[in-house]
Amino acid sequence: MRTRFASDRGLTSRMVVTMFLLGLLYVVFVGVLIALGVRALTVLVLAGGLLLVQYFLSDRIALFAMGGREVSPQEAPELHGLIDRLCALADMPKPRVAIAESDVPNAFATGRNQKNAVVCVTTGILRRLEPQELEGVLAHELSHVAHRDVAVMTIASFLGIVAGLMTRFALYTGLGGRRNGGQGGVPIGLIIVLVSVIVYAISFLLTRALSRYRELAADRAGALLTQRPSALASALVKITGDMARIPTRDLREAEPFNAFYFAPALAPGETLANLFSTHPRLERRLEQLTNISKQLGRG
């Protein structure tokens, strides 16, 4: 039996390289901290604690921040119907479904695993998209859940949190503590600050790259699930076109949650270097969807 649903090797290998580099950076950083004899353990435990809170409460934090309200099948029968069917096609447990009162057309999925997942859509996206396009968006979000992106990205951002804490820790303790009682020599605090800043910068770039790859992977899996890549592409075009016209107050509220979003909410006129963005460029996403569409249509 043949399959029409091939995976993208290039994407997979780019993701593996990024993850490997992050892991390598992590090992090197911890190694440096231990070599310098700082109380690295305190910082690691602190960062680990933050991470656990974020990991276990991710669904509640995101829902609360976005003002999302869980809805029952009676309240939103169409939305539940779409998700029920997608879950049956993908053979995954049904996540909770929420709607956020916001005119920003967007959707996000959160939760540490498939059992605790929540898929939330805004009233703005419900108003703007056709059912087929909405289905494409939901399939993208369900793929995030299936790929356990909250867990992956939380772990990936761990290094950044440690490096950030480390910088502050060293600054507060006053860059002091010269080695061997300190006669000349470089202050150990300064080295820590330097190393931490460099680690932070590199891990930031790597995490962002990883996030973009995972968006592409979710696009791909979502399109293969609905088998209508063009509907997802049309939803993307509609939403990113609408992004420029949304009120700024809403945008400021939404920005910290960009990483979990379907399409990032950029303030009008704002241009971010591609390297720093959590989502791939629209053209890149559309190009991939076109390729999948061709692949599906081949006789």
Binding site: G81, R85, A146, T226, L296, G297
Partner: protein
């Protein structure tokens, strides 16, 4: 899906399980004895029509194969339903026909497109209706009993679950018992 596929973000469409459907005819006898529900002779298959020429060709072939025996319709969620009609007592015939649709989709590489299949039952005296829905990806069945106005007869569904438990692989996760309002053949 393994953890490695999740980590690398390459979840694949799930292949369907086609064989469990054949367990249905023998289970019906038990259902009929316990609840008084009899087969209506209607069954249907729901699948997602993929975009592009390959699927359109396949759909034409399936319809040519089954000829006049199937009726096609689309639901509001973008799935295509093929309705098969048979005599109420020819249930194994009906199941074979449903299987013909499934296997042609699968052999063309569109097995992951299959959503669910249902065979419907009705009680001649009091108007109760019940569909036994088959989930291809799970290889499990669940009962669905619609009432008027998009309400479900949960009591009848749970009663049917009790009856069918020993006969069919039933879906244990109740949140996957999704309603198929207005499905053809119901």
């Amino acid at each position: 899906m393994g953890w490695l596929d999740a980590l690398l973000g390459r979840s694949k469409p799930v292949k369907p399980n086609l064989d469990a459907l054949f367990a249905l005819p023998s289970a019906v006898v038990t259902l009929q004895a316990a609840t008084g529900l009899t087969p209506t002779g209607l069954g249907s298959v729901a699948f997602r029509a993929a975009e592009g020429g390959a699927f359109a060709t396949l759909e034409r072939d399936v319809k040519a194969l089954l000829g006049e025996r199937v009726e096609e319709s689309d639901d509001g969620y973008g799935y295509t339903w093929l309705l098969v009609r048979r005599a109420p007592d020819a249930l194994s015939d009906l199941v074979t026909e449903l299987h013909a649709v499934n296997s042609s989709l699968e052999s063309a590489g569109f097995g992951p497109s299959l959503l669910c299949s249902l065979v419907s039952f009705a009680a001649p005296d009091d108007g109760r209706r019940l569909a036994v829905v088959y989930l291809y990806k799970r290889g499990t069945f669940y009962p669905f009993a619609p009432l008027s106005g998009q309400r479900r007869d949960n009591a009848l569904e749970l009663q049917a679950r009790g009856v069918l438990e020993g006969e069919l692989p039933l879906e244990k996760d109740l949140s996957r018992w999704f309603p198929v309002w207005g499905a053809p053949g119901l």
